[in-house]
């Protein structure tokens, strides 16, 4: 990779520079954007995303992965698990794609970061198109858009209806991790998960023993910004259980 011909890449590390991939923070999730959507989960071509891995299925999904901070941290923590990030914004997905390709090339041991990828899609509508029933074991929702106005509450990414769909794609025992710095949203997400009959909150001991939980706060750009400003974060982590009426 010739860094002279690619001005958007940094010369020293060979990684793409964020300032050339900036985009607005908001994007309307209910609009019909024009990007290709797989007709069904069997039509998802995993060889495009994970060229060196075969005959495995994605197990982790980062919904609204942003600039990919969490994926990068998780890649080394779980090197055998395939993970995919879903992001609605065009430019940001480009950045993460370039970042993953660059990391794969420059990785020291060789073969690192082969298990992460990103796809541009609207996860509120198309999650069932990508994942079969019970395929995922972890789902991440880090610092989602709070949508403060009550008329916009139906656009929130954690809501009772969408939790039905997430319960469908998560297998029994699958975990949903959410974190936000907006207290009202944190309360909303926690109560949605509590009210839903197919999710049960993790106990404090389980939270302490899970290595992923600390990554929620400081792995992403958004999390680092909150820590810098000394803000408070609100986590809600739940496990998917069988239907209890």
């Amino acid at each position: 990779m010739d860094s002279k011909t690619k001005p958007t890449f940094s010369r020293s590390t060979g990684l793409p520079r964020k300032k050339f991939f900036r985009a607005r923070a908001h994007s309307n999730p209910l609009s019909d954007s024009h990007f290709p959507i797989p007709i069904s989960p069997s039509h998802v071509d995993l060889s495009l995303h994970f060229p060196k891995v075969s005959s495995k299925k994605t197990e982790f999904a980062d919904i609204g992965c942003g600039f990919g901070g969490l994926l990068i941290s998780l890649a080394t923590l779980f090197p055998e698990t395939l993970m995919i990030g879903m992001e609605l914004r065009d430019k940001v997905t480009e950045y993460v794609k370039e970042l993953i390709l660059a990391l794969r090339k420059t990785s020291s041991g060789g073969g690192e970061y082969e298990n992460i990828s990103v796809v541009r899609t609207n996860s509120m509508k198309y999650v069932p198109n990508y994942f079969e029933k019970g395929q995922l074991s972890k789902m991440f929702f880090l610092f989602p858009d709070p949508h403060f106005k009550e008329k916009n509450h139906r656009r929130r990414v954690i809501s009772v209806d969408l939790l039905d769909e997430y319960a469908y794609v998560l297998g029994g025992g699958g975990v949903v991790y959410t974190i936000t710095d907006v207290e009202e949203l944190g309360e909303w997400m926690r109560s949605c998960l509590e009210r839903h009959p197919m999710f049960e909150a993790l106990t404090q001991e389980e939270l302490d023993s899970d290595p992923v939980v600390e990554l929620l706060c400081n792995a992403t750009e958004e999390g680092q910004k909150v820590a810098r400003n000394g803000g408070q974060t609100f986590k809600a982590v739940s496990r998917r259980i069988a239907y209890v009426s």
Binding site: P128, D161, A167, Y243, S245
Partner: protein
């Protein structure tokens, strides 16, 4: 000698309305040709009175482009007063001879028309027979029926005016499971014919106003599989449950206002009744699915404590079709993203249905119909037809696509014009026949008659079908829907029954189809297409 007196037309839109699907651009031509037939060839000046705040869609805009002057009044009661005042003023400022044409049903016009005649004006009243009195009709020089005037108008192609064609809602036919009655929705109108008593049924609403609304404002209807209930949802949000035997109104669900920030009425788009009649579900325009518990509803008594609750919250797309599986375990909802979601119907539906059994992905265009395959050997399968010309077979519990059938190749559809892109053959409705065959109704673009809905009566083995003329129309008569029936004995569909062989006979056809024009010959698809220019 031609009469060249100037003609002045006043039209009270709210009393003489346009039938559903009627192109408003034809009105001025209709009046002109009616006047020509009476012998008046003078210049015409048009005025129309509408009510402020009522939603007319683009009707008023289209009327205005053809030369009408629109006046708006604040209340529907004051429209007729406005016309009377306007005519009185006009009388003082204009000299006879002139022709005054009033399109209205106002009974109080009698004295005014008398005065006009005395002064020497020629007068003509165009009216709707249901709302006027005979006394009014005898006063003016000429009186015409509004429906006649509209029917005799030559066709107008809105594309010549730069306006798009209007969408007409498809007709639907539903037959009572033991063929006790037949219900047809034509546009917004609901017509029900009781085959046992051989008469048309009028659904009596709560008050006179809502009665009118019930039968002329219907959006979607459904019969319960046991034959006891009939549900109908109207366009302004009311959902009514009727007894299908005695036609008493059993229960009403009021239009819901969702929240302060979006005070919209929830209009039902799809309705489903569970096979053991325990619940009714309906989907509204927002995408939510509501469930009503029906326990306690009986012929005579109405239980006031029937609860309604939100069953499914769909925040990202609207639900177009709803259905229960025949054993009542699952509820299927087809949505605007071309997928069918199968939910397990919970034991306590008022708490919401959260468990998704499967999601059926595969269709590429909107799903128009769902039918079940349910007999002793094969259970848990269903079919869906859609606008992408395919019918697909699915397994309910896993959601997997078992088979796809491309209808356009099966129907041997050959595109006529090679320069245009191939138009889609759309599957409009389908019905499974218990001896494991399937009847599918498709819309081939270019045909003059489009069958829009079919329904099977389980016991009598008759397949009923309703069809409507194509849009843009190729014959003069606008809303002619046809109801046909054919027997399906031993997996072979015999020919279509003649008009007198249908149960209910010509009386049923008259009531359900509306006025059948006299020039209409039996099979209109053999007629040559007439040009639709003015």
């Amino acid at each position: 000698m031609e009469n060249r007196d100037p003609i002045y037309v006043w039209w009270d839109i709210q009393s003489c309305r346009l039938p559903y699907g009627y192109e408003p651009l034809r009105v001025h031509v209709a009046v002109k040709s009616a006047m020509r037939n009476l012998g008046f060839f003078g210049p015409i000046d048009y005025v129309a009175v509408a009510v402020k705040g009522w939603s007319y869609g683009d009707t008023l805009y289209r009327i205005e482009t053809t030369g009408f002057r629109i006046k708006r009044e604040y209340a529907w009661q004051s429209c007729s007063m406005f016309i009377r005042n306007n005519i009185s003023e006009w009388m003082h400022s204009h000299e006879p001879p002139a022709v005054a044409v009033i399109i209205s049903c106002d009974k109080g016009l009698g004295s005014l028309v008398n005065r006009l005649r005395v002064e020497g004006f020629k007068t003509c009243i165009i009216y709707v027979p249901a709302f006027t009195s005979d006394r009014l009709i005898s006063v003016p020089n000429f009186s015409l029926l509004w429906s006649d005037v509209l029917a005799n108008a030559p066709l107008v192609d809105p594309r010549e005016y730069g306006l798009p064609l209007r969408e007409v809602r498809a007709e639907a036919i539903y037959v009572h499971p033991s063929q006790k009655s037949v219900a047809v929705t034509v546009g917004m109108d609901l017509r029900v014919f009781d085959l046992i008593e051989n008469r048309r049924v009028t659904l009596v609403g709560k008050s006179r106003r809502s009665c009118r609304k019930d039968s002329t404002n219907t959006r979607v209807i459904r019969y319960g599989a046991s034959g006891k209930f009939f549900v109908c949802a109207s366009n302004d949000g009311w959902v009514n449950i009727w007894s299908a035997e005695s036609w008493h109104r059993l229960h009403t669900i009021y239009p819901l206002i969702s929240s302060r920030w979006s005070p919209s009425k929830r209009v039902a788009l799809a309705i489903a009744i569970r096979s053991n009649d325990s619940h009714v579900c309906y989907a509204d325009t927002r995408g939510d699915v509501w469930v009503v518990e029906l326990d306690g509803i009986d012929e005579c008594k109405v239980s006031p404590s029937n609860k309604t609750a939100r069953l499914l919250f769909r925040s990202s797309s609207i639900v177009t079709k709803l259905d229960f599986s025949p054993d009542g375990r699952y509820i299927l909802s087809a949505d605007g993203d071309f997928k069918i979601r199968v939910n397990v119907f919970p034991k306590k539906p008022l708490e919401g249905a959260h468990e998704i059994q499967s999601i059926c992905l595969g269709h590429k265009a909107s799903i128009t119909c769902i039918a079940f395959v349910w007999n002793s050997e094969v259970t848990e399968r269903f079919l869906s037809g859609s606008d992408d010309s395919t019918v697909r077979l699915w397994d309910i519990s896993s959601g997997s696509l078992l088979h796809t059938c491309d209808i356009s190749t099966m129907a041997e559809y050959i595109e006529v014009n090679e320069s245009e892109p191939p138009a889609q053959v759309k599957v409009t409705d389908m019905c499974t026949i218990p001896n494991s065959s399937l009847a599918i109704v498709i819309h081939i673009p270019g045909d003059s008659f489009i069958p829009t809905s079919i329904s099977l009566s389980g016991s009598m083995k008759l397949l009923w079908m309703v069809s409507r003329p194509s849009n843009p129309p190729v014959s003069k008569h606008p809303g002619v829907t046809r109801v046909k029936a054919m027997p399906c004995i031993e997996a072979e569909l015999s020919s279509i029954l003649g008009d007198d062989q249908i149960p209910g006979g010509t009386k049923l056809l008259e009531q359900l189809q509306g006025k059948v024009p006299t020039e209409d010959c039996g099979e209109c698809s053999t007629r040559s297409h007439e040009s639709c220019n003015v």
